[in-house]
């Protein structure tokens, strides 16, 4: 979480906890592994030992000197944590609003993002192997990722060599409703397409591997039964401030962990549909691999641009100059609830509105003295 190392555990009662990975004695890490099973965390420095609920379980070799210590106050520092349809969200601030309150209207879309293709809630399955890498860029540069104006040039080369699932471009064309950029009062941003009852989003997909298309079409049929008109809505919410997503082509969550102002450690988690046959999971994984991450033919060029956007902005002169976020500035966003019966503020798919909202929200966070200053915007 940013520059703080965190431990995510499930205790004996299957409750999820998120702890700061820092011994309360002298700050050493109490967990030195990426994943695994344990019943205790024992610090390698002096042996302070914690159980899976973060409580002090043992204080070895203290010769009675800690007998008066209020052990209950010296457990691992715990973050507030919410499990939302299988995804775990944590926050160090006890006074922060609840996670759903913080989402402020985009929970519907986050829920859709985390569902199986057939609409089963929480059906997204994370593949083993989290890609983690260092990008010499400010962590805000890759956020928000709703940017329909960059692909034609940033990704010109992949369009030419055609890495898409059907051997064209970089993605399959998808028959869905009209696309918009959408934002929420608390700074979350995404793109999505409006509901379209007769949509057939997977009809023209995966021409080279029909087994994937057949699975997707079958699952989408089930999705329509379950979700009705909302079935065709594809959303990839970027949760303010540093979490980004892409839906299905590829299907990922990216966390931009700041490492100071000019270095970011990106963690990317890759999703498959839990219910898909193993062969389908492997074929889509191959597509993700050639598409995104440090070895991804598409994202490599994003990284080059993100890197040099930061490097090109560091000088005294360049820091005096504003960036330009004026695309479709004169177009008033449409209020989703009134216009479409859906949460969010809707703008032209090419608009910079999401960036404007994101950086306005950032400025509000920098100026705020408390959550009261930040949660004043009406949520519809």
């Amino acid at each position: 979480m940013g520059e703080e190392a965190a431990i995510v555990v499930r205790d004996q009662h299957r409750k999820v906890h998120v702890f700061l990975n820092s011994c309360r004695h002298r700050g050493n890490r109490v967990c030195r592994y990426d994943e695994g099973n344990t019943s205790l965390f024992t610090c390698s420095f002096h042996g302070w030992t914690y159980d899976l609920e973060g409580q002090v379980a043992a204080l070895p070799f203290h010769d009675g000197g800690y007998n008066a210590l209020p052990k209950g106050q010296w457990g691992l520092h715990e973050a507030r944590c919410t499990v939302f349809e299988g995804s775990i969200w944590a926050c160090w601030d006890e006074s922060a609003p609840s996670f759903v309150e913080y989402l402020g209207g985009c929970e519907l879309y986050l829920s859709g993002f985390l569902a199986s293709i057939d609409g089963t809630p929480g059906g997204a399955e994370v593949l083993g192997g989290v890609q983690k890498w260092r990008l010499p860029a400010n962590w805000k540069v890759p956020c928000p990722d709703t940017d329909r104006t960059h692909g034609w040039i940033t990704h010109k080369s992949v369009m030419e060599v055609r890495i898409g699932p059907s051997g064209e471009g970089r993605r399959d064309r998808s028959d869905r409703g009209k696309s918009y950029t959408v934002n929420f009062p608390h700074g979350h941003t995404m793109s999505m397409s409006l509901p379209k009852a007769e949509a057939e989003p997977y009809r023209d997909s995966w021409a080279q591997t029909p087994i994937v298309r057949e699975y997707l079409e079958h699952a989408y049929h089930e999705r329509k039964k379950r979700m009705g008109a909302l079935a065709s809505v594809d959303s990839s919410p970027a949760i303010f401030p540093n979490m980004g997503t892409q839906y299905y082509q590829p299907w990922v969550v990216r966390i931009m962990h700041p490492q100071g102002p000019t270095m970011t450690e990106i963690w990317t988690y890759f999703f498959v549909d839990r219910q898909a046959p193993q062969e389908v999971k492997e074929i889509v994984k191959d597509y993700y691999s050639r598409y995104t991450g440090p070895a991804g033919m598409t994202q490599q060029d994003d990284m080059e641009n993100w890197h040099w956007s930061t490097a090109g902005s560091k000088g005294t002169i360049s820091r005096r100059l504003p960036y330009n976020y004026t695309l479709f500035l004169d177009e008033e966003p449409e209020p989703g609830p009134e216009t479409f019966g859906l949460p969010g503020n809707f703008s032209n798919i090419m608009s910079d509105e999401n960036h404007r909202v994101y950086y306005q929200r950032w400025a509000e966070f920098m100026a705020a003295r408390s959550w009261d200053d930040l949660m004043h915007r009406p949520v519809k």
Binding site: W133, S157, R290
Partner: protein, 178 residues
């Protein structure tokens, strides 16, 4: 060396020298950006694999590297995808390789691990140095296990496992071949 080899020590030494030459030729092709010629060294059924490395407790090393197919790795692909990468570099608009990076592949510690009738498994270490634009530098160091197959008087690479000695990748991307 496994006992499958019927070769004499002298023949094995000659074979190792022949394979070293092949690996050094390959490194030259890559560093001289002769990517199409490099592709010709790859068998049509090559598997090119670089796992993600995890920090795991001693005794659980079987979980240290992600596995092919079912888990995400840095690379887990065949020749068609490698050929796409070569074509992408050649477009001139693959910005992270435009202009080209300056790359040197150092290959060392070459050892024959298994000698069969048609295939030889070779262990080596690599140090790939990438220098880009004015002052951007990346080092990639690790081990490789290559399965080489005899083909028309030369060799083809039938399998390559690249074990990069990094957990968090300390580079912004992997635009070079290993």
């Amino acid at each position: 060396m496994t006992a499958t080899s019927a070769l004499t020590p002298g023949e094995l030494r000659d074979l190792r020298l022949e394979i070293e030459d092949f690996l050094y030729l390959e490194a030259d092709l890559l560093d001289e950006r002769r990517y199409d010629e490099w592709l010709e060294l790859l068998a049509d059924d090559i598997r090119y694999f670089m796992p993600i490395r995890r920090n795991v407790p001693q005794g659980e090393q079987h979980r240290e590297n992600t596995v092919p197919r079912t888990e995400m790795s840095w690379f887990d692909e065949g020749k068609p995808t490698l050929a796409l990468r070569v074509r992408q570099i050649a477009t001139g608009s693959h910005w992270c390789e435009e202009p080209f990076s300056r790359v040197s592949h150092l290959v060392t510690n070459v050892r024959l691990a298994e000698v069969g009738e048609t295939e030889v498994t070779v262990h080596c270490r690599f140090l790939v140095y990438r220098n880009r634009l004015e002052d951007e530098v990346s080092f990639f160091i690790g081990r490789r296990t290559d399965t080489l197959r005899r083909a028309a008087g030369s060799w083809q690479i039938a399998r390559r496992e690249i074990i990069l000695d990094q957990n968090v990748l300390l580079a912004k991307n992997l635009t070079t071949f290993f």
